[in-house]
Amino acid sequence: METEKLYEITAYTENQVGLLSSIAGIFTRRSLNIEKLLVYPSTVEGIHKFKILTRSTEHLIRAVVLQIEKKVDVVKAFYQVNDERSAREIRIVQEFLEERERAHGQDDIK
């Protein structure tokens, strides 16, 4: 039996109407209780950040994070047990977007 721990999930997203309920729905489907939720503009220009605290097994958290990241308007999603700071995540998000827009040009996101 895998042990349950408190995990912190972070997701970097476009600022789109309805995305909060879309992400919350993934937790509902798996009967996961959200202990804490923060949504705010991230330090990446135009990108929002979700911070979600939930208690579960790593196997389930991994599945949930991949299903969050699968959403069209989600850029990247991560999870961690302890409070590893987010500088690494921010670097990954910035590099991902720069690489995408270098290859494809500007996105006309509304």
Partner: protein, 572 residues
């Protein structure tokens, strides 16, 4: 001076820009402006008027599955929108590209419980790949181009556009939009060289490899790449329900269908292989049986376009993220040519047992009532394996899947993940409209036919040449089978008192053939398939026939019932 046109016209221009020439729909109050403009576009957009919105979405699904292009649905707000919800859920779980455009009340009325208002975005968020409410005429072209790009790219799926009435009537300049990039969305991940090398190594080192594939082969157009990979590696391959027809039934590497009512060989060999290569499939529980015992002896190499599928149900020793065709081509060039050896003799043993104990009694009985497997087998035979097979859900579906033989890709259209009864008839209509040059044969039970039987009206109006093979046993057969086997023969609410189908066919001016006995079957099927007109062939089949083999729920994939009394044992 800029030239402004209405939002309704911008929508239709945007659909034409996407190559849409067929729309399945039903008008209503909050979508009238679009229908009004559609009057001027009748020469460019064919509108199929269904009899219920559920028919529109299933027809669009059948159209997308047969033709490979997204299906388009146009409905009104409120009940029009909620009536397509089942089909959206079905398209989501079966990765079918459809775009649903639903009317919505004007923006000033949103949230006020206005007449025929419903929160359609809220209702469909968990079952769509993307949903968007269009509130301004200026946003239509942008939203439509995104909708089609998202619906068909990567792992396909349904998209909802909730189209407010004032956006339909508002005036704006039309500028053609085309979307081929969304910065937050990676539809087709590229596998790294290291991962491909590691996968090739696993293949080279294996002695008893088994490849299992799903609809991903059809969706990525990987049929030839799969054949080439199998020819080079000499390994056996088995299909999921949705992967059927990706390989021809007579491909020498093909060993049958996986899962609860699949063939013996692939299910048993799953528990004997040393490498399981899964391509474009998601280890549904109807495929895996008990996951705790599934392929525990094997290494698992999972190739899929969707990262969230890898490791979701079955642990993957290696996941390869990417398009099935690209990955298979890359692997084919990385592995040495070889022959299968003794491992390739295995399926023959299991096929012989299944042929004698299950297939022969079902498809070639000498006496007694007509068997459903026999009907499927005769239809497959008479149409020379040329038909697109569409099924409803239940025993008819399993008999159709087990006993149809395929020569062409995209020839099996069935509701897999959601198991939607009533899917068959409208899906067959959509399939025939997408592929008018091919025969389309629907296998449907008496229960499922009556769930969406109103679509016979659509067949009448549009003269869609669907061949409806009604396997009539006067029972909800699949549930009846479970009640017999697992619920002590307590037949709760599964007996059906059915209408006179000859009268129903006559009411819709559809040709009708009735088969009560074995001698009538083949001539009736030959008459049915002699032309391209719609036809109902009602066959009174054995009332209490069951689908076998069967892996009962919760059992391992090598714990298989051959009939009501006998289990497969590896010695017999």
């Amino acid at each position: 001076m800029t030239h402004k046109i209405s939002g309704a016209e911008i929508l239709l221009e945007s659909l034409l820009a996407q190559g849409v020439d067929t729309v399945f729909g039903y008008p209503g109050g909050q979508i009238i402006p679009v229908y009004d403009k559609l009057y001027d576009y009748q020469d460019r957009i064919r509108h199929i008027l269904v009899r219920h919105e559920q028919g529109a979405i299933h027809a669009a699904q059948g159209y997308a599955r047969a033709g490979g292009m997204p299906g388009t649905v146009l409905v009104t707000s409120g009940p029009g929108a909620t009536n397509v919800v089942t089909g959206i859920a079905d398209a989501m779980i079966d990765s079918t590209p459809v775009v649903v455009i639903a009317g919505q009340v004007g923006t000033s009325l949103l949230g006020t419980d206005a007449f025929q208002e419903t929160d359609f975005i809220g209702l469909t968020t968990p079952i769509t790949k993307w949903s968007y409410q269009i509130r301004r005429a200026e946003d239509i072209a942008w939203a439509v181009s995104r909708a089609y790009y998202i619906a068909k790219s990567g792992r396909p799926g349904p998209v909802v556009l909730d189209f407010t009435k004032d956006a339909q009537t508002g005036m704006a300049e039309y500028r053609e939009a085309s979307c081929s990039f969304i910065r937050s969305y990676v539809p087709v991940p590229k596998p790294s060289e290291e991962v491909l090398e590691a996968a090739a190594r696993m293949i080279v080192e294996s002695r008893r490899p088994l490849l299992v594939y799903g609809q991903g082969i059809l969706l990525s157009g990987a049929e030839k790449a799969l054949e080439a990979f199998l020819d080079k590696t000499g390994m056996p391959a088995a299909s999921t329900l949705l992967g059927l027809s990706a390989l021809r039934s007579d491909n020498p590497h093909y060993i049958g269908m996986l899962g609860m009512h699949g063939n013996l060989a692939p299910n048993i060999m799953t528990q004997a292989c040393d490498l399981l290569i899964a391509v474009g499939m998601r280890f549904d529980d109807r495929v895996t049986g008990n996951v705790k015992t599934y392929a525990r002896q094997a290494k698992v190499l999972h190739i899929d376009i969707d990262a969230s599928e890898i490791g979701k149900n079955i642990h993957a020793d290696l996941g390869v993220l990417g398009d099935a065709r690209e990955v298979l081509e890359a692997l084919t060039s990385r592995v040495a040519s070889r022959k299968g050896g003794d491992w390739l003799q295995e399926p023959g043993r299991f096929h012989a047992v299944e042929q004698e104990r299950v297939i022969a009694p079902e498809t070639a009985p000498e006496s007694g009532p007509v068997k459903p497997g026999e009907v499927v087998s005769v239809v497959s035979d008479v149409c020379g394996r040329e038909a697109i097979v569409v099924t409803d859900v239940g025993q008819n579906q399993m008999f159709a899947a087990r006993y149809s033989r395929f020569r062409h890709s995209r020839s099996m259209i069935t509701s897999g993940g959601l198991g939607t009864m009533g899917f068959g008839l409208p899906a067959a209509i959509g399939a025939k409209i997408a592929a008018p040059q091919r025969p389309v044969c629907l296998f449907v039970g008496d229960g499922g036919l009556q769930m969406t039987m109103q679509e016979l009206g659509t067949i009448l109006q549009e003269q869609v040449g669907v061949k409806i093979v009604l396997l009539d046993n006067n029972w909800l057969g699949n549930v009846r089978q479970w009640q017999e086997l697992f619920f002590h023969e307590r037949y709760s609410a599964t007996k059906m008192v059915n209408p006179d189908y000859a009268c129903i066919a006559a009411a819709y001016s559809i040709r009708f053939e009735n088969v009560e006995s074995r001698g009538e079957l083949r001539p009736a099927v030959e008459r049915m398939l002699a032309d391209d007109a719609p036809c109902i062939l009602r066959v009174h089949v054995a009332e209490t026939d069951n689908v076998f083999p069967m892996i009962p729920p919760g059992k391992s994939v090598n714990e298989i019932m051959l009939n009501e009394k006998e289990w497969f044992t590896n010695g017999n």
